[in-house]
Symmetry: C2
Subunit: 221 residues, 2 copies
DNA sequence: AATTTATTTTAGATTTGTCTAAAATTTATA
DNA sequence: TATAAATTTTAGACAAATCTAAAATAAATT
């Protein structure tokens, strides 16, 4: 088995690869994601390369191997299932779940995670709307676009997910009473600052900036 | 906060102290409990002593301070609550729970453990019948004696707990269909080998040896 | 009381994961 | 294309947790 630190590096590299879309990940971005020094990253990269979890070309960055990806995705699965547990069963808020899931994801027991999955009713998405890979590592695909992309008024908009997970953003959404599962419609676009006014299910009107609308993923219809 | 290893040492020392009833714990017994060398124990003892988690007199063993005990008891609380979760909610057997709880007990979040406790309905005992300390560290006391101590026939005997937790013993009890919560009566004592014959609730007759009867804790009546 | 045996500690080494500072290499800029 | 800037690697050090082997001390035995 791999150490908690090794797992965290693999997860960090996977995340960066997802974000940038490219396969080659440089040392500095890993150092930033991990909150550590470039020198430490180089050390760890060598070890993970030894173990065939990533491919490493000196001075030109790394990319995960199939095995490295598999471990990263399995970690995501565990992380997100624990988030669902904390949110749905223990009544944690979606702001609180992440920090605890960061620890729980490293508990090693396949039986545990399969039983947890069943106990939760095989959820497909976590409290932030992120997809939960199944035990084979495949994600459920869903059509979703940033709220900021929508141009039509008076259609029902379903909130599916959020792009950012930092607590300041999530708390702001809490204030606006926006979270995955909510439905609203757009009643006004303001061209000047690209803000929009929304009408929620219970009749409230809220204004959100473009910055916020860009981080909310929705299903239009 | 303390490292996982430090926590495990404190737990080991607490366990040994409970078992022997004495306060002074020697290096060798800690090494055995931890599955490590005496030299490593000496190293760790010094560190824990530095941190005022135990009192250490060179060559004469250690004893936990109030703070050290507090940490050990809190770990027991977490361990046993997780065992209840795994058993009651995820349908783990009482043989399987311990290994996973050994990992889960080190997750650091007071909110988590209080919410878990509430979710489980504030259980007072774990699947092996061991008492779960409350958040102040106090245990529920219960009158219980080894089954081997009982001399009366034809009275209802309630199984409360087991003294041993190794899987070979627990699996043997599974075969006999004995576990905490079960009720039976003794229908025969055999003086020669101190074995006894029991009559279970559903009419089965089972024979258990003295060795086994000694590790089963019951409430007579 | 002297000696043997058991236990405990020390000394020195190893692995993991980290750091800072310096050297090497790549990338950007003039 | 030469120089400057940014990035990456190497070198050397450190803390945590472990080991083995040797030395020190305590406990048991004759
Ligand atoms: Mn998360
Ligand atoms: Mn999430
Ligand atoms: Mn246990
Ligand atoms: Mn138990």
């Amino acid at each position: 088995m791999y150490t908690e630190t090794e797992e965290n590096y693999l997860k960090a590299i996977y995340k960066i690869a997802q974000k940038q879309g490219e396969s080659s990940i440089n040392t500095k971005s890993i150092a930033e994601e991990m909150g550590t020094s470039a020198a430490s990253v180089t050390d760890m990269i060598k070890r993970l390369s030894e173990k065939s979890l990533l491919q490493y070309e000196k001075y030109y960055g790394v990319s995960l191997t199939k095995e490295g990806q598999k471990i990263a995705v399995h970690l995501l699965r565990k992380h997100r299932l624990w988030e669902v547990f904390l949110h749905d069963k223990l009544n944690f808020t979606w702001v609180e779940v992440h920090e605890v899931a960061e620890q729980l994801e490293h508990v090693k027991s396949d039986l545990l995670i399969e039983k947890l999955d069943a106990f939760l009713g095989h959820p497909k998405f976590d409290p932030h709307g992120d997809p939960i890979p199944n035990s084979n590592g495949s994600f459920t695909f869903r059509n979703q676009i940033p709220l900021s992309n929508i141009r039509e008024k008076n259609i029902r908009i379903h909130v599916l997910a959020v792009k950012q997970h930092d607590s300041s953003f999530l708390k702001h959404l809490d204030d606006l009473k926006i979270k995955p599962g909510e439905v609203f419609e757009i009643i006004q676009f303001t061209d000047y600052d690209k803000s929009m006014k929304l009408l929620t299910k219970n009749g409230d009107q809220i204004v959100i900036t473009h910055k916020v609308a860009d981080a909310i993923l929705v299903r239009p219809q």
